[in-house]
Symmetry: C2
Subunit: 257 residues, 2 copies
């Protein structure tokens, strides 16, 4: 077995490898090694070693033009993620009806450690939209959906989320108060908390036993989220979230027993 030092460096290598993988996104589907080195801050030898390891498992590959790209092995994860996180058609229908009712994009989020991930989306019809993709991860310390997902959070989680926020550890108190408001109102509203000009309205989806398992959220430009609009949105999102709770969302279970 290894010393604590070796164990730490093992964890560090895994995180570094995953963070290298994270440098690839829709706008950067292939990268030069130089870009990976610059963005990661790691030594070139380390980057080459980690890239080589990821290539062994097909997650990255060296393209004919010499740039590093997303490997075909990632398709296996893609298939698995879609199977496991498949959203029941009934739930999608609720989301589509909410889009029709509000003319805004509807997102479904779940908590993932101290962040939130968009696991499903039905796009609104407008041209000016907040662009968010399924799989994108956002913070829990800002935004309406973040607050909703903190509804059941214990002190330890609130502290960790606060520490990750720009305001730091003392932000835990503010988060606690905001969460209390959501508990009282049944929904959350945010304006420009994470990004200037972006607003959101969210409500909780509960599972058996009443724990919060997801958040249904509308997101769009603050310009459209006027006081009057938000009042209607809050009611509509709350109704949609209640319907999804009734249908039952066994997320991450792939719909299998």
């Amino acid at each position: 077995m290894g010393t604590t030092g070796e164990q730490d460096s093992g964890v560090r290598s895994v995180l570094r490898a995953l963070d290298l993988l994270a440098l690839f996104d829709e706008r950067h589907q292939h990268r030069a090694v130089r870009e990976l080195t610059e963005h990661s801050g790691l030594a070139k030898s380390t980057v080459l070693r980690l890239v080589g390891t990821l290539e062994q498992r097909g997650l990255l590959w060296t393209r004919p033009d010499g740039r590093i790209g997303i490997g075909p092995g990632l398709l296996r994860w893609a298939a698995l993620a879609r199977t496991t996180w498949r959203i029941p058609e009934e739930v999608r229908q609720v989301m589509r009806e909410l889009v029709a009712e509000t003319a805004e994009t509807v997102n479904l989020y779940v908590r993932s450690d101290i962040g939130r991930v968009c696991v499903a989306q039905e796009e609104g019809p407008q041209n000016l939209r907040h662009v968010l993709n399924v799989g994108d991860e956002l913070p829990l310390w800002a935004g309406a959906a973040g607050r909703v997902l903190l509804l059941g959070a214990d002190d330890a989680l609130l502290r960790r989320v606060a520490v990750a926020s720009p305001q730091g550890a003392h932000h835990a108190e503010t988060l606690r108060e905001r969460v209390a408001e959501v508990r009282r109102d049944g929904y959350a509203v945010s304006h420009g908390e994470r990004e200037t000009g972006v607003s959101g309205v969210a409500a909780p989806v509960t599972g058996p036993g009443g724990t919060v398992v997801a958040a249904v959220a509308l997101g769009g430009p603050t310009a459209r989220f006027t006081s009057a609009a938000v009042t209607e949105f809050a009611a509509a999102v709350s109704r949609a979230a209640a319907r999804v709770s009734d249908i039952g969302l066994d997320l991450g279970a792939g719909g299998r027993p």
Copy 2:
């Protein structure tokens, strides 16, 4: 920086983490820690440490029932893999026409280090079918598509593939001969090389400069791949592969410049 020992243990940790992730598949979308320990052969403390690290990046998560499941963070990779490995509609159409012509499932494979990955599939109509999913990885040392993808292989690659095969290093000579046959015939046929009762017929897709970039393959039960059927299949697959080569397959490029 680190000693060579630390670097090795870093690579080892990354591979162990990825191999833990690989224990999750369509039939095992969630696992007990005990299963992960048994299948990986790692100490429980190591498994918990690696699972915890993967959970930090949302690739795994601890479900309400305590079992470890595929995390929502994996959806990000799903979206990216599908974008990068999107198959042009024209190519899909060729694959669908080949299905219609042969009544067999059509798969598109690319080489990934010493293996091959199925990057696209159009299913045949029959009930008795070889079940293979997009993203699945198979060996290069067996099967018609494996042989086709070895068409441009240098000695070093052939040796590495042979070493990975059940027959070992001396299998390189057999591989070389089989590849020479494919070069002569323009297609490959295999019966039961990787799995008893499974046959395949494959032909190469070439890119600019004539390098082999993919393999179009029919796969199904040997019972249907009779001598007469294989003669027709070989002609049909060769025609389809030639059409795909003409359309141009810029794989792993996401269809963007």
